[in-house]
């Protein structure tokens, strides 16, 4: 089932009665979620990602725009008739019911033609439990489960009624680091097996990048960029997206273009064809640096951190907007730790330049 969002907008009335300032939580969001894909809605808190999710679920009504499930316009359809499965951030498992009762609950709600016999319900509940590997824990109460197990119950409960769309709100945020890694693989596996169109919300870019088929980066209610994770990472449309994706984060410099050459400080670091002279912001991915005796960019060496396969060099440059520059270099590269300065050359496809005012990307020929 594909999900189409058409000019979706959500405006919250001002909380303060005196001022009439409205909050635009989601602004004119259009996107077609392809059938059977896993989509990550990504952005810092307050960017409207959860609001979008809740509008798809029907728990919140859009102020404008339309939502289609397949070809059905569901904008006016109430939550209970949309056939969505929703996993809440805090799971919202019914505390007075066992795991089994929790998973059975949505099935017992089915009416009319959808009504199931007791045996059918049980077999489906056990099937869903098996999918999330919970068969052993069916008689427990939620309070007797670990966070990760509770989370899987919540997924089973959302899946058991065969939703047309599965929605997950910050599914991993209440888990510890180790469980988080494990659970996100689990979510990926379940989604692949069931082929249910799935949308999940997260503020953690690593999480979104690692399992999504596509990510949607949002900021203050406005969609910044949509695409496959690698594509968005390799080709950010603006400074916000470039900064939001990647660990360690992108290094940002003040620079300028003069005569089709990009300068950082006094160093001319790159040739940029067809870019008019102007002040710019330069973003360089950590892996965009490589050491060279006669490197164009000279920086003051602070420290070297060996991370096994790679080496991270921490250095300083006056033009950098952050206190330090972090670059990642192949561990085989010989470096003199006693040296005062390091010189880098840059990989063209890892360098992005942005308009100083609009922070939009300025494209230049890479070859």
């Amino acid at each position: 089932m594909k999900v189409v969002l058409e000019n979706l907008t959500k405006i919250f009335p001002s909380r303060n009665k005196k001022s009439n300032e409205e909050v635009v939580a989601v602004n004119n969001f259009s996107f077609t979620i392809p059938d059977g894909k896993l989509i990550g809605l990504l952005g810092p808190s307050g960017c409207g990602k959860s609001t979008t999710l809740y509008m798809i679920s029907g728990l919140q009504k859009p102020s404008g725009g339309k939502i289609y499930f397949g070809d059905d316009d569901v904008t006016e359809v109430s939550t209970e008739n949309r056939g969505v499965g929703l996993v809440f951030q805090n799971y919202a498992l019914y505390p007075h019911m066992t795991v089994k009762q929790n998973i059975l609950f949505p099935l017992q709600n089915l009416k009319g033609a959808d009504k199931l016999s007791k045996e059918e319900m049980l077999s489906r509940a056990y099937e869903a439990a098996k999918l999330v590997q919970l068969e052993e824990l069916m008689e427990r109460k939620p309070s007797e489960l670990s966070g990760g197990q509770q989370q899987r119950v919540a997924i089973a409960r959302a899946l058991v009624k065969m939703p047309r769309v599965l929605l997950l709100d910050e599914p991993l945020s209440n888990l510890d680091a180790r469980l988080r890694l494990q659970t996100r693989e689990e979510i990926r596996r379940i989604q692949r097996e069931t082929k249910i169109t799935t949308v999940f919300v997260t503020h953690d870019q690593e999480e979104a990048m690692s399992i999504s088929d596509m990510i949607v980066v949002m900021k203050l209610g406005v969609v910044q960029q949509i695409g496959a994770p690698q594509e968005v990472y390799d080709n950010p449309v603006n400074l916000f997206v470039a900064k939001f994706l990647g660990t360690p984060p992108i290094n940002v410099f003040n620079g300028h273009v003069k005569g089709e050459k990009l300068y950082i400080g006094e160093d001319a670091v790159l040739e940029v064809k067809n870019v008019p002279d102007q002040e710019v912001i330069v973003g360089i991915r950590p892996e965009g640096f490589y050491l060279a005796e006669d490197g164009a960019l000279s920086c003051e060496l602070s420290s070297i951190e060996v991370m096994g396969r790679d080496v991270s060099i921490v250095s300083k440059n006056a033009a950098c907007t952050a206190p330090v520059i972090r670059s990642i270099i192949d561990a085989d590269t010989p470096i003199n730790p006693a040296a005062k300065t390091v010189r880098y050359n840059l990989r063209k496809n890892k360098v992005f330049i942005f308009n100083k005012e609009t922070e939009e990307r300025i494209y230049f020929e890479v070859n």
């Binding site: 679920s57 029907g58 728990l59 939550t79 209970e80 008739n81 969505v84 499965g85 929703l86 809440f88 805090n90 919202a92 019914y94 505390p95 007075h96 019911m97 609950f105 949505p106 017992q108 709600n109 089915l110 009416k111 409960r157 959302a158 009624k161």
Partner: protein, 314 residues
């Protein structure tokens, strides 16, 4: 770290409370047991030097006494009728109140009003509403001047006037009036507690239920009631405790006669029975009755707690 200076300071702070509790709480507990176990005890008699034998005669006498059985019956009947009715009604009102936004505060205040009333004073208002002025014998000779507003309303809807509280009224009619008054009086506290409970239930459970397409009825029975069960248990237990001590609401409606003019004492309760025994110097009997009351309350509370342990989650 406990130095002696602190020791005596603490006891000085506690002294007024302890002295008063010793006189008016601890001694009465001991004395009540003592009086109950001395045959036919009367403190006036004791002061006159009379001695009493030890025994369970007071308890036997109380239980065999017809007046006590009637009081016990009245008390239990009122309890069994009013606790479920008021709890259910309070639950419905609280759930309804919780589901609305406009007018919620105003209605909540109105529903709390009966709490801040004097049960004797408002009882008199209820009597006025049910009272028939004139003579009402249910025969041709009756001279009704005004039948009371409740009967007026019944007649307006085509019903027949009922003798609720007057001379010649039936026991059933009396009990009906008492149930209405007690429920009216009991609602505010129950609504307050249940509404507080409802408001503390995490809204996400309702969102989750909505996503799963749960019907209103199922949300109520499978989610609201179980999650509210600790509060429900609380109002039911306090309801029973209060119910077994019913007394002044009956005085409010029927006056100290505790019944209609032709049958005083018809609606007497256990507490009424205890108080009646005091001016008559029947302290042994009153003590035995008080201990029986305590035992009943204790057992009923225990049963309630046992049931709620099984039914109440948490």
């Amino acid at each position: 770290m406990v130095d002696s200076k602190h020791q005596w300071k603490a006891w000085i702070y506690l002294a007024p409370a302890i002295i008063l509790l010793l006189i008016f709480t601890v001694w009465p507990i001991i004395n009540t047991v003592r009086m109950a176990l001395l045959e036919g005890y009367s403190s006036l008699g004791a002061a006159g030097g009379k001695t009493y034998e030890f025994g369970f005669g007071n308890f036997v006498k109380v239980i065999k006494y017809k007046g006590f059985i009637k009081c016990l019956y009245n008390t239990i009947l009122l309890c069994v009728l009013t606790v479920p009715i008021s709890t259910l009604l309070a639950l419905l009102i609280a759930v309804a109140l919780n589901s609305i936004k406009p007018l919620q505060k105003v209605l909540q205040t109105i529903f709390f009003l009966p709490y801040v009333t004097n049960s004797i004073a408002i009882g008199m208002v209820f009597t006025a509403m049910f009272n028939i002025v004139g003579s009402f014998y249910g025969t041709e000779n009756e001279i009704v001047i005004t039948a009371g507003i409740i009967n007026n309303i019944i007649e307006f809807f085509g019903g027949k006037a009922i003798n609720w509280v007057n001379y010649g009224s039936t026991y059933a009619a009396n009990i009906a009036v008492m149930v209405i008054y007690i429920v009216w009086n009991a609602l505010p506290f129950k609504i307050l507690v249940l509404l507080g409970g409802l408001q503390s239930i995490n809204k996400q459970y309702y969102d989750a239920a909505k996503v799963d397409g749960t019907s209103r009825r199922r949300i109520f029975t499978r989610i609201t009631v179980p999650l509210l069960s600790p509060m429900l248990a609380y109002v039911i237990i306090t309801g029973f405790i209060g119910g077994f001590k019913e007394y002044s609401s009956i005085v409010g409606i029927f006056g100290e006669g505790m019944g209609p003019a032709d049958d005083a004492g018809r609606l007497n309760t256990i507490v009424g029975f205890i108080y009646d025994a005091l001016p008559n110097q029947q302290h042994g009997r009153a003590s035995a009755a008080a201990l029986i009351l305590f035992a009943i309350i204790f057992v009923v509370t225990r049963i309630n707690m046992y049931v709620s342990k099984k039914k109440v989650h948490y």
